[in-house]
């Protein structure tokens, strides 16, 4: 039984899966305080679910016995914790200084045109979500972007076309 109110809400918590729990339990052995595991738990759930729904957020808060408001503070602080559903592939597009100097604007324009989405949006078929990031640490090969776990360098509009179709084909 908790000693505090975790959340007063009409929503129901999602029961975490056995795998999620196992991973969270492992993290708990690494920190002295359950509250500190919050961020790792969010990442674990996002890995398995693709994003963190309100129900998942509640599930984690209850499992860790921390107020859901605190966990939401953590979740919303990091823009790579997704609190909305995202596409199968998340494009993290760098539009910081080096990439800008190297002409990322036209690359970005091309992506937007090809996928018909703007920052923060997901394609209708659910394949791609486009999100800006400030610097991926690979400035000497700017412009760069990540798609899922892969880094793509020295981008040009032409390269974009092949990258997009590669990912589409990969999914079959």
């Amino acid at each position: 039984m908790s000693q505090r109110v975790i959340a007063s809400t009409a929503k129901k918590a999602r029961k975490l899966s056995a795998e999620e729990i196992a991973e969270i339990e492992h993290e708990m052995t690494l920190y002295p305080d359950k509250k500190a595991v919050g961020l790792e738990a969010l990442k674990i759930v996002q890995k398995s679910q693709g994003w963190v729904s309100d129900e998942s957020l509640l599930g984690i808060a209850k499992y860790l016995d921390i107020p859901v408001a605190d966990l939401e503070g953590v979740a919303t602080f990091f823009n790579l914790v997704y609190r909305e559903p995202v596409g199968k592939n998340v494009i993290l597009f760098c539009d910081s200084v080096s990439c800008w100097i190297m002409g990322c604007e036209s690359v970005k324009g091309h992506i937007k045109q090809q996928l018909d989405i703007d920052y923060g949006q997901t394609t209708e078929d659910g394949d791609f979500t486009l999100i800006p990031v400030p610097c991926l640490g690979d400035c000497d090969r700017a412009p760069v972007m990540m798609v899922g776990p892969d880094l793509h360098r020295n981008l040009t509009p032409e390269k974009i076309d092949s990258i997009i179709s590669d990912y589409k084909n990969k999914q079959g």
Binding site: T9, K11, D33, D54, G59, P67, L71, G73, F77, F78
Partner: protein, 906 residues
């Protein structure tokens, strides 16, 4: 003491403080946002920058944050330095980039710390002309509005709500320029102290929602120093009135009692004063309808009730003066207590202990100083809410000690919290169910009430062998631990109260006495809570044997013919059958009250009584502190203070004087009356601010002639804006104001130092004299055990609902639940009860909602009587619950906020 130089002038300061605090203590103006006198410094806003110089030869100096720099001996600083000034004005400019500048429609306007600081730091022209970021606001319940666009990201709200008040549902979210302060989703703010956000937030993000409904600027409110009548703590308040209605209540600083904070019952529970349920005319019953009484008829009634054969029943929610007037009218032997017989027993114990040299009844501030606390059976958050907030601060004393050891100043808030992590001074809670303080408790024992009594005695006996022994074998180890913690503490504190009879009070007293013996005779802090604003005052006046039961018997048996009931609904105090038979038998019943009740329905004559804001009065709080509450506004109709109907006293001062000399225990009551000094050159203290607007036009829709200002012949205050402003005498100051300081932060101009007493101020007068040396109470005989389907009974209280008058206020009603029984899942299952079912309780057969809670002791039922006309006095010790076919109301128990509400499995 240390010496520092500020802009060439030498000041004596306390080196344990920071520079900002010392500048303010010295009366200087230095802008700040994130610092708050009760919460220390985090250095987040960068608004308090000053120039500090290494020594006299240093002409360059460097910018430091005053709130993050100790006021160490020899420090040389400048507030006036050009670089410091321009830094401060740049900081505020950037803080305000996205601020909407909507002061004309903002409810903070006119008492806004942001307005004041903007003016003070000289950012008076807006250069930014780009798009501003905007936020979506949330619904936060009936108390608080949310307007996030006004936020300047000072973090005070979450530091107050989470860190100070222990709330869990308000957090800082997102990052950089869209940092957001709100709940994880829309919904009622859960903390019982959420209203303080209105005063803590330096801008108009969190404002008073009930006030919005009939808003007025601060300077247009008529106000006076008042005392909250919500419970026995007696927090100091400043109610504001306009156009004849009470508009809002804000905190009024009292260094010993409430400091800077109120609870939500006190802040939002007043609008019964404006309600249609108010009694406003003297009436007599004629064939079951009310008929207006003429003046001579009233005189005749009073004469009739002055005759032999009349008894008077006092009231714990009425002033000392009204109780005293009634007592004088009917005679000492005919004046009876106006609370339940169980409470009479408790009060007898409380008053005996009050004069005992072994104990000290701690003020709220002293409660914050405790370094080991035991709460025995009392639900502090729901009975005396402000004290729960103080207990939250007490557990931080461990952190303060750790900080001192590491040479970290106590005002370094973030550092001290980081250092201490979960280290807290021990607080142990022994109760029949989980409570809202559990998250800070080191030990928590959930037991039936008789078992808690036994455990209390066991702890006492472990502290000192001379205390009578009792055993509760399952809890021996915790009892041992708690005893050791209390013994080892520098300032231990025992908290109990009258919520569930006198035995818990006696057990708590034995623990304190054992500590007293053990601790070389130092008086031990024993905080005994009673339910109502003047429970103690009335308790002192009624003879111990004159309980309510005796009064009702006298009426039923015909030994008394007439009864005067003072501001009281007897149906809340005694069993219905008992009250019915007494009032039916009585030849004549005179009721004086503010609102209609079940008792006024039985009256032959009703005399209307003014509400707390409509009269001057004194009350005595749980620690025996007498306080004076001034009249704020006039009652528009015919209500009068009760004492005025029934006594010939011309003035409350006369009654106070007589009370001092005639009523035992009240000798020091006169100390609370204002002295002569406010009458400077014969002028009174205005209740209206010097900016009060529209005075000549306010009633122009009725009459274009400007009426003469209403005179107040009795008080030292006037219903006017003329006179000697209260700013000259903080002892009668309702709302602080100083040049450049329009917000409540101006209070620092009136404190002898930050967080200190008000200059010339008055913290009330402590009435109890320590004259007696008592002895241990005996361990009670084993209580009746439940048989068959019975459960142990524990009365339960709710901050929103248990207090009779505030439960009639609209915002409070929105937070109330129906009457319920709280039982554990096993007890529910064995009775075939599900969450939200309706059940009936014996002996009364009253319907209550079933509330299944995992944190209730199996075999115990919590009973919350609410506003359902169930008198707690109907029940003794044991209870039976039967499933009923009735449907729950739409209100039900959905707004109950507890941590152990049983939910479906996830």
């Amino acid at each position: 003491m240390a010496k520092i130089v500020i802009d060439g002038v030498e000041y004596e300061v306390n080196p344990d403080n920071n520079l900002l605090q010392e500048c303010l203590s010295q009366g200087l103006d230095l802008p700040y946002f994130c610092w708050h006198p009760s919460m220390g410094s985090v250095g987040a806003c960068r608004q308090c920058a000053v120039k500090q110089y290494r020594d006299e030869d240093d002409k360059e100096g460097m910018l430091v944050m005053a709130c993050m720099t100790p006021a160490s001996d020899g420090a040389i600083i400048s507030l006036e330095d050009e670089q410091a000034k321009s830094f401060r004005s740049d900081v505020i400019e950037s803080l305000m980039i996205s601020h909407p500048h909507d002061c004309p429609v903002c409810e903070e306007g006119g008492e806004c710390h942001l307005q004041d600081m903007t003016q003070m730091s000289g950012h008076n022209y807006r250069r930014y002309d780009k798009k501003k970021r905007t936020h979506r606001n949330q619904y936060l319940g009936p108390f608080i509005n949310h307007e996030m666009n006004r936020c300047i990201t000072c973090y005070r709200c979450v530091r107050y709500y989470d860190d100070y008040a222990g709330g869990t549902d308000l957090s800082a979210q997102a990052s950089h320029h869209h940092v957001y302060f709100g709940r994880h989703e829309e919904g009622v703010l859960e903390s019982e102290f959420s209203g303080n956000l209105v005063e803590v937030c330096p801008t108009g993000v969190f404002t008073d929602k009930a006030f919005s409904q009939h808003y007025s600027r601060k300077w247009d409110l008529q106000t006076a120093p008042s005392v909250c009548v919500g419970c026995s703590v007696g927090c100091n308040t400043a109610p504001g009135e306009r156009y004849g209605t009470l508009r809002r209540i804000v905190n009024r600083y009292n260094s010993e009692v409430n400091g800077y904070f109120l609870c939500d019952r006190g802040r939002f529970g007043f609008d019964y004063v404006n309600s249609r349920e108010r009694l406003l005319e003297p009436v007599k019953r004629v064939d079951n309808t009310g008929e207006l009484l003429a003046d001579d008829e009233i005189k005749a009634v009073i004469k009739e009730f002055s005759r032999e054969g009349t008894i008077g029943i006092g009231s714990p929610r009425a002033s000392n003066e009204s109780n005293f007037a009634l007592k004088t009218m009917v005679g000492d032997e005919n004046f009876f207590a106006g609370y339940s017989d169980s409470e009479s027993e408790s009060m007898a114990a409380v008053l005996t202990l009050a004069s005992d040299k072994a104990f000290h009844s701690p003020s709220v501030r002293k409660i914050e100083e405790a370094d080991a606390v035991l709460i025995l059976g009392e639900d502090v958050t729901n009975v005396a809410p402000r004290i729960a907030l103080a207990l939250r601060q007490s557990v931080r004393n461990k952190a303060m000690d750790l900080a001192s050891e590491s040479r970290i100043p106590q005002w370094q808030d973030a550092a001290v919290r980081e250092l201490a992590q979960h280290e807290r001074s021990p607080l142990s809670i022994l109760s029949p169910a989980v409570s809202r303080l559990d998250d800070i408790a080191a030990d928590r024992v959930i037991e039936s009430l008789p078992a808690l009594v036994a455990m209390g005695h066991q702890i006492a006996n472990k502290i000192s062998g001379s205390a009578p022994a009792a055993t509760s074998p399952e809890h021996d180890a915790v009892a041992e631990k708690i005893a050791a913690q209390l013994k080892g503490a520098k300032r231990p504190l025992i908290v109990a109260g009258s919520s569930n009879g006198s035995e818990l009070i006696k057990a708590a007293a034995n623990i304190a006495r054992a500590l007293h013996e053990d601790g070389e005779d130092a008086a031990i802090d024993l905080c005994l809570l009673v339910p109502e604003v003047n429970s103690i005052g009335m308790g002192l006046m009624a003879a111990e044997e004159n309980s309510l039961g005796v009064a009702l018997d006298k009426l039923s048996s015909g030994a008394a013919k007439r009864v005067i009931v003072l501001e009281n609904d007897l149906y809340r105090r005694a069993a219905k059958s008992q009250v019915d038979s007494a009032l039916d038998k009585a030849e004549k019943v005179l009721v004086l009250d503010q609102v209609t009740t079940a008792t006024t329905a039985k009256a032959d004559v009703i005399l209307p009584v003014t509400a707390f804001s409509e009269h001057e009065a004194t009350y005595i709080n749980y620690e025996g502190r007498a306080q004076l509450s001034f009249q704020v506004h006039q009652c528009q109709k015919m209500a009068q203070p009760a004492w005025r109907w029934i006594s010939d006293a011309a003035h409350i001062d006369d009654l106070v004087e007589r009370c001092c000399s005639e009523a035992p225990g009240f000798a020091k009551l006169r100390d609370v009356l204002p002295g002569e000094n406010p009458f400077i050159a014969g002028m009174k203290v205005p209740r209206q601010s010097h900016r009060y607007s529209g005075r000549t036009a306010m009633i122009a829709n009725v009459n274009v002639h400007e009426p003469k200002q209403m005179e107040d012949k009795e008080s030292i205050m006037s219903f006017s804006m003329e006179g000697i402003s209260a700013q000259k005498d903080p002892s009668i100051m309702a709302s602080p104001w100083a040049p450049k300081w329009n917000s409540n932060q101006s209070i620092s101009k009136f404190q002898d130092e930050v967080n200190g007493e008000l200059k010339q101020g008055h913290v009330g007068s402590l009435l109890f004299e320590k004259t007696a040396s008592g002895s241990y109470f005996d361990v009670p005989a084993v209580a009746a055990q439940p048989s068959g389907k019975q459960l142990h009974l524990a009365l339960s209280y709710q901050i929103f609902g248990s207090d009779e008058l505030s439960a009639r206020a609209e915002p409070i009603r929105e937070r109330m639940t129906d009457a319920y029984v709280g039982i554990c899942p096993e007890d529910a299952q064995s009775r075939g009860l599900a969450q939200g079912d309706v059940a009936t309780i014996t002996p009364t057969g009253a319907p209550v909602v079933v509330c299944i809670r995992t944190g209730v002791k199996p075999g115990t039922a919590l009973l919350y009587c609410g506003d359902a006309n169930i008198s707690p006095a109907e029940f003794t010790g044991l209870l039976e619950i039967e499933k009923s076919a009735a449907q729950a109301t739409s209100r039900g128990i959905s707004s109950l906020i507890v941590s152990d509400f049983q939910e479906e499995e996830i």
